[in-house]
Subunit: 109 residues, 2 copies
């Protein structure tokens, strides 16, 4: 039960651990686009970029709608909610640190 969820989380975090893929997701914020458009900005072979898209797809962050020879990619942010939920546990911890920092500054360094 937990395992399946875990593996999914693995895939999501791993997909996010690459700047090319994060940039692709940011591109998709503005709406769906083809693999070609997604690959365009990168100094990388088309096939290379295509692999990144597949990683995103396997993590569920991108869905593909094939229309003729064009593959339209859509952002699906829902898997990020899992990652976000996992991180939320720790928000209190980093807030504590930031509060302390703020306090230190207020106290005149």
């Amino acid at each position: 039960m937990v395992k399946l969820n875990d593996q999914h989380l693995d895939a999501v975090f791993a997909a996010l651990a690459d700047p090319t893929r994060r940039a692709m997701l940011q591109h998709l914020e503005h709406g769906p686009c083809s693999v070609g458009e997604l690959a365009g900005p990168f100094d990388m072979s088309f096939a290379g970029a295509s692999k990144h898209v597949k990683v995103l797809e396997k993590a569920g962050l991108v869905t593909r709608e094939v229309q003729g020879r064009i593959h339209h990619c859509h952002l699906n942010a829902t898997p990020m909610a899992e990652a976000d939920a996992w991180l939320q546990r720790y928000r209190v911890f980093w807030n504590d640190k930031l509060d302390a920092l703020e306090q230190a500054i207020k106290d005149g360094d």
Copy 2:
């Protein structure tokens, strides 16, 4: 400029993309502990677990305070704030989806 931050984000997300390491971080929520205590729960060689700790350390999620032969590990959640901030951009997207789902349920599936 952006690159340094990016690389850091890479390391943080990559560190989180492993269930052993996530479990270690959860263990550390309850307070600092030694590498041995961290390694204990896992069906894995000590050296293997030690490597995971090092990955967490390189990502800045764990700090180490060496006291004699014992290495005390502390949780440092602050790098997670970066990851969280990155994810926040997308919160609106997954909220939209969840809202739609909720609405669909309310409408009687």
